[in-house]
Symmetry: C2
Subunit: 418 residues, 2 copies
């Protein structure tokens, strides 16, 4: 099987100025295309280093994917490095020139010296069309490897890579491939691992696990004869073992999108009453475009008195059971449901940490102890208590995902929408 390498060009990648996402994005696309990546290199805006990286990678990889350094400024020396590695001179490429010239004139500008440089490609190289920007991509051989050069701007890179997909599907031609994806929430990762242990149908299937704080994305890769039916069999065996823990977000979306979609479909509304998640439940809902149709109101009642004043809790109940208790969180959810008049209400209380919560006359609440509740008109309030061995930020994020998972499961159990 042919292998690939990734080269990312830019001084800013060598100073920690920002975390690169192009490398992981390309790596994942290639994996999904059945292409193994043998190495990833980050080099500065330096023609010699770029040439060196390309020659080094070409010894092992049949295809090299390079991003960055093809803009119009003097720092952009990827073309020079590529020409050096290919052992060919830079010459004006007619296709590239026409593209650059037309794009700039379309924006009412004359190409300057820098833009003219964007049309200089190694002799024999070809242009990769960049729908989203000016800089043309490049395809050029270095030794026995083919180098694909993309812009460093993520959405330009992604559009350009997408237009290569039809060809890329052929790279591993002759080898059947199939990919299946499952998302899992509401059970710990260790339980997921136990539940799918010893599934016969998983033999010969490669599983990649992408954890997303409380949500787990599992991707099954099958290669070789009968890949499609084998992947399908593995997937259905996994779904059987994992049951209601599995859900299916639209690609690029997450559990809060799944919840907002399900609420929208049913014409149902939700309110939030938060203590230790401190606005995170509301914030996750409102990340989803169109959330306003299902989410009229959320409270962040961080102080005990505000739980009483805004949600109508009985101060005596809080005193009797403590702020972090099943009783208090249930009363918060029910208070929010009653006050907002929504179909559902989600509530949280807990000790995010790092310190325990001290209440007079009670034993302290340890950091990581959280209580979640989901109240529904005409149904019993559901309560979940967890002890999470995480940092403050992770306790908040993990618990928020579990709270949305309660909503997801409740809606999935309910009658399907009309």
């Amino acid at each position: 099987m042919s292998r690939a390498a990734i080269v990312l060009v830019g001084d800013e990648l060598l100073t920690g100025t920002r975390v690169d996402t192009n490398g992981p994005w390309l790596a994942r696309q290639l994996r999904e295309l059945g292409v193994d990546v043998s190495e990833v290199r980050y080099v500065g805006d330096d023609a010699e280093q770029i040439a060196d990286a390309l020659l080094g990678c070409a010894r092992r990889a049949a295809r090299i994917f390079l991003t960055g350094g093809i803009g119009p400024t003097d720092d952009d020396v990827t073309r020079d490095g590529l020409a050096r590695a290919a052992g060919r001179p830079l010459v004006e490429n007619e296709d590239a020139w026409q593209i650059v010239d037309a794009k700039l004139r379309g924006r009412g500008r004359e190409p300057g010296r820098g833009e003219r440089r964007q049309a200089l490609l190694p002799e024999g190289a070809r242009v990769l069309v960049n729908e989203a920007g000016v800089a043309p991509g490049i395809r050029c051989d270095v030794g026995d490897a083919t180098v694909f050069v993309f812009p460093g701007v993520p959405h330009e890179l992604q559009m350009m890579f997408d237009s290569l997909r039809a060809e890329a599907e052929q790279w591993q031609a002759g080898t059947e491939r199939a990919t299946r994806t499952l998302w899992i929430a509401g059970i710990p990762e260790s339980e997921t691992a136990e539940r799918i242990a010893n599934i016969e149908e998983l033999e010969g299937i490669d599983i990649a696990s992408y954890p997303h704080t409380g949500e787990l994305e599992l991707v099954l890769y099958a290669r070789g004869d009968g890949a499609a039916p084998r992947a399908a069999a593995a997937e259905s065996a996994m779904r059987e073992r994992l049951g209601a823990a599995v859900y299916d977000p639209v690609p690029g979306e997450r559990i809060e999108h799944v919840v907002v979609r399900a609420l929208t479909k049913r014409g149902a509304s939700i309110a939030t009453a938060e203590s230790f998640t401190g606005g995170l439940l509301a914030r996750m809902l409102t990340r989803v475009p169109g959330a306003s149709a299902v989410f009229p109101i959320g409270w962040v009642t961080y102080a005990v008195e505000e739980k009483v004043a805004r949600l109508g809790l009985d101060a005596a109940l809080i005193a009797a059971h403590g702020v972090v208790s099943a009783e208090t969180v249930a009363a918060m959810a029910e208070g929010a449901l009653r006050t907002a008049g929504t179909d559902l209400a989600l509530a949280s209380t807990g000790a995010a940490g790092p310190d325990p919560i001290e209440e007079a006359g009670r034993s302290p609440v340890p950091p990581g102890r959280v209580c979640l509740a989901l109240a529904q008109a005409g149904a019993e309030t559901r309560i979940l208590t967890l002890d999470l061995p995480f940092s403050r930020e992770l306790v908040q994020r993990y618990a928020a995902v579990r709270a949305f998972d309660m909503v997801r499961r409740a809606l999935a159990r309910a009658a399907p929408p009309p």
Copy 2:
């Protein structure tokens, strides 16, 4: 000046399974130590590839920093790759063995075959002490370069690197170095660039800019003779030009921490009333440990009727000026201040996008139009209207930072705390 390279080992780094943060972290530490990084390479758990990367980097770098692949499992082959690159056999290292043995026995376990492998180092290599975990780090020469091997677990890597700092300070000995950091908010990056243009004192000073959505971290690096006074002069010239836009968070903290600290110092409290930021203001406040002392209550009044019901807004005012207006946002902040009885109240309303907000009888509110207000007991309400050309998520995040910047500036203008 001597250069460095970074090598990160792990199959999961080549599949896009997760975004690596060790590479950027190491790169930034090295930059702050005055060490230039010439390249960063990611390779799989494969001894030959590891050896190849080390030999390739050693041609250009005096020091190589490698993370990952030193655990006890059969996948952990960094030691083998290092030995191959160094051209030396793996031998049991007495120091390494004593460390592994003592750590495991301290946890009540006997070292197994895997742990015995952790004590096998290339002949002549030395141990780097790992305070936080079992796996010993390694220091070993490859060609003319020194290789430092760290665990891939971020906090183990960071502790181990920190214990090298005293030595690292000497790497560029003979060259004076100085670093100064400024944080800037409340003005666009382009305005920051204009304001600091032509500062004479910046000549010969290297500026790294680390953008954090609405907050900009600028780090000044001076090298060579008189580095310290030159950096100090550059810093004070920049502070003069940037004025109130500059602030000084504790390292690792952000603007919401600065605001919570300032409120705590003054014994002042704040409430939030959010529309398009949808809980993000509350969520940012409550990320800060100890926020409960200053933040009793936040509302996410996403629906118009909830602004009326919870914050006491006049429906006629909203109808007259529109939901996204200076009048409405000011009334939200003042309503929150009155209802919560806090010293300050922050409010937001706007069109996060992607769609415009349509209201009967009004022209639509374009995506990115946002209004922020800060109400204070006994002071005039401050209002800020912005048109932000960003995606939904960025509009929310950028505006939230600007809202906290309003609080930061108001507290800085007020009399210092007693």
